[in-house]
């Protein structure tokens, strides 16, 4: 209680002292307007302690001046009207001064409080953000929050894939964890609200001692808060701490996710390594088989015609097996995120490579390639995009009737090259048009179901699309590839 009374005591003491000084001066010589000395005191009182002491000083000064210096002296009575005016002016000036000084003090106090607060926040924020260990930073935040008078408890709950766990600021009861998970899942705060950087306490019952729950982007803040002790300053600080906690929890989640992604990536690499070694292991015996079978099928081996035919059939089976292993490897590489070696290529080159590769199969078809001379080049991985054309040609060959027509065409459209391969075979059942690109889905008894799946993956890896449709003549596969941006004369040459 003493600190509150002291300013008033000082005010009264000051008035007495100044009264003595004025009395001393005026006993020696006559100086007018000495009452102004009181104003100095009032100004100081107001600036130092605010309005109360300054008011007391003002009234004290008024009374003292009236009693000791205004004639008739030693009474509170005033006779002269000029003296009345002087007293009124003194009182008015004293009151205004005390008011001004008090407001000056208030704004200085506010500025100091804000500076303190922002310094504290800055310290917390830098410490939290500098800390390599996010969990340690979060614990520190919780400690700082409980240093606030009105905050009895501040805990953070992480909610990873629906499972709540206490992360910092102490343990929680199972019921509290459940409540936190609910709050996070529904994005609903319990007993507290944050709006425009301010926290406000929302209590249904004053006796309610349960903590408040505030959902954050990747967790929940559980806050024990005493409604009776909260001040605006503390609520502001609390809001800032909650904001920081939100940021740090997000950082923690991002770190967890990138760690998980690294894990997935390395498991992808492992998968690719296994598949590559597996395909090596599978291909080596097929290689021996094919070399041996074709060796014996040579006329020089001296086998009978029916025996040679059998060997040729077996070699065809071995080739099929080899293609399937190759397709499996290609697909697994695409799924593991194959690196594309993209460059400008003429689409006609891709078609030429594919038709050369399939010249034996395509000999039984009528192949019509109609590409405009000024077709712009595409920006693709030559081998992979060539595989798309080859697979579609092979598919067309499978479905076109003997001697059937296979048509290849392309034209630029919407910044992409739209190309198609069409055959005059039977239409694809409408229900199958979408499934046809699924892995292992096939219309053929002997198909691997991988060729079109590979096409889709390659085209999509290039940022294009692929679709199947039934045209009047037969099924058509249309796909898009990105155009290359190269100088015009060169582009035409490709």
């Amino acid at each position: 209680m003493r600190p509150r009374l002291a300013p008033y005591a000082v005010a009264i003491g000051g008035v007495i002292a100044i009264t003595a000084v004025i009395w001393l001066i005026s006993s020696k010589t006559s100086v007018p307007g000495l009452s102004a000395i009181y104003l100095l005191l009032i100004l100081w009182l107001g600036a130092r302690w605010g309005r109360g002491p300054a008011l007391v000083g003002s009234v004290g000064a008024f009374l003292s001046y009236d009693f000791f210096f205004v004639p008739p002296v030693n009474t509170f009575t005033v006779r002269d009207s000029a003296n009345v005016l002087e007293l009124i002016v003194l009182l008015a000036v004293a009151l205004v001064t005390s008011q001004l000084a008090a407001s000056l003090r208030r704004s200085r106090a506010t500025a100091e409080a804000l500076a303190r607060e922002s310094r504290a926040l800055y310290e917390v924020a830098t410490a939290a953000l500098r800390s390599a260990e996010v969990t340690a930073a979060l614990s520190m935040l919780c400690r700082r929050a409980t240093e606030l008078t009105s905050v009895s408890r501040f805990a953070l709950v992480a909610v990873d894939s629906g499972q709540p766990s206490a992360l910092a600021g102490g343990d929680l009861s199972p019921a509290e964890l459940k409540q936190a998970a609910w709050s996070h899942e529904n994005g609903r705060a319990i007993g507290i609200a944050v709006r425009d950087g301010m926290v406000s306490v929302v209590r249904k019952h004053p006796s309610d001692s349960a903590p408040a729950y505030l959902p954050l982007a990747s967790g929940v803040a559980v806050i024990g808060i005493d409604e009776d002790q909260v001040t605006p300053d503390e609520l502001r600080m609390l809001a800032a701490v909650v904001g920081l906690a939100d940021l740090l929890m997000d950082r923690r989640r991002a770190a967890l996710e990138s760690e998980r992604a690294r894990g997935l990536e390395s498991s992808d690499r492992l998968k690719t390594a296994i598949l590559s070694s597996l395909s090596h292991e599978l291909k080596s015996p097929i290689a021996s088989l094919r070399t041996g079978l074709t060796a014996l099928a040579a006329p020089q081996a001296g086998l009978k015609d029916d025996q040679r035919e059998l060997l040729v059939d077996l070699d065809r089976q071995a080739s099929r097996l080899d293609r399937m292993v190759g397709d499996l490897l290609a697909l697994s590489r695409l799924e593991a995120g194959l690196q594309l070696d993209r460059e400008a290529h003429g689409f006609s080159d891709l078609v030429a490579n594919a038709t050369r590769h399939l010249r034996i199969e395509l000999a039984s078809n009528r192949l019509v390639v109609e590409l405009p001379d000024d077709l712009p080049p595409v920006n693709v991985d030559e081998v992979q995009a060539g595989r798309v054309v080859a697979n579609l040609l092979e598919n067309a060959h499978e479905w076109a009737p003997p001697g059937g027509v296979i048509e290849v065409g392309a034209s630029p459209r919407d910044g992409m090259l739209e190309a198609w391969v069409e055959n005059d075979g039977p239409p694809i059942a409408t229900g199958d048009l979408d499934r046809i690109f699924d892995t292992f889905w096939t219309r053929r008894v002997r198909g691997s179901g991988l060729g079109l799946a590979i096409c889709k993956r390659v085209v999509e890896a290039h940022g294009g699309t692929i679709r199947a449709e039934n045209r009047r003549r037969g099924p058509r596969f249309t796909f898009t590839l990105p155009l290359a941006h190269v100088a015009a004369p060169r582009a035409q040459a490709l």
Partner: protein
């Protein structure tokens, strides 16, 4: 005997299949299972062609390839299950004459062996005129003709065609072409070779969708039909 073939492959079944298959085509065949043996055999037995598997135990196939080059003048055909184009380029740049992806049929292999042997014979004979179908490249007179008709090429176009012709039948990588035609400083811009090849094809009246002379080797480079 139409030539000596050294098989370098660690799979015994493959060795036997190749020995049988190639002997039917009158080749003399020996087979070893490691790079070290290959190098000593190449120096002492003097094969004409070496079939080199890249997936060898112990000394790696690429290392073997590099060490084989000073030891022998034999043509090296890389046979490998590795389907990656980067490996093909690496093998060709390391001095291989051709590559064949496993599995392959004996006919195909025999055709490749004959092609490299023919090329070797041409190079040894110092034949000044190289033919690819009706295309003739006269190295001595620096002229190119199709069915006797002169084709006008720029110096760059001629250099590129000449290099392909000198290695007719062999895939030549983009990097090698760049270095041979433009010099060491041009390495890296595959675009140059594509542009020049497109120009040559146009002058030769070759259909890029179905070329007769210069064949694309996807992901590797070009080859002049031998």
């Amino acid at each position: 005997m139409s030539g000596r073939v050294l098989v370098v492959d660690d799979e015994v079944e493959m060795q036997r299949a190749l020995r049988t298959g190639l002997s039917y085509h009158d080749f003399e065949v020996r087979a070893v299972g490691s790079g070290e043996e290959a190098i000593s055999e190449a120096a002492t037995w003097r094969p004409d062609v070496i079939l080199l598997d890249l997936g060898l135990p112990g000394m790696d196939g690429f290392v073997t390839l590099k060490k084989l080059r000073p030891a022998t003048r034999a043509a090296v055909i890389v046979i490998s299950v590795m389907p990656d184009e980067k490996d093909k380029v690496r093998a060709l740049d390391a001095g291989a004459d051709d590559y064949l992806v496993k599995p392959f049929g004996t006919e195909e292999l025999v055709a490749r062996i004959r092609a490299v042997l023919r090329r070797q014979a041409d190079v040894t004979a110092g034949e000044p005129v190289i033919r690819s179908g009706d295309l003739e490249i006269d190295i001595g007179r620096r002229t190119v003709t199709i069915q006797g008709k002169l084709v006008r090429l720029t110096p760059t176009e001629y250099e590129l065609l000449r290099y392909l012709a000198l290695h007719a039948g062999k895939p030549v990588t983009h990097t090698t072409l760049l270095r041979q035609v433009w010099g060491d400083y041009a390495i890296g811009d595959k675009y140059n070779t594509r542009y020049v090849v497109a120009q040559i094809r146009k002058k030769l009246g070759d259909d890029p969708a179905n070329p007769r002379y210069i064949i694309n080797e996807p992901g590797v480079g070009y080859r002049l039909e031998g």
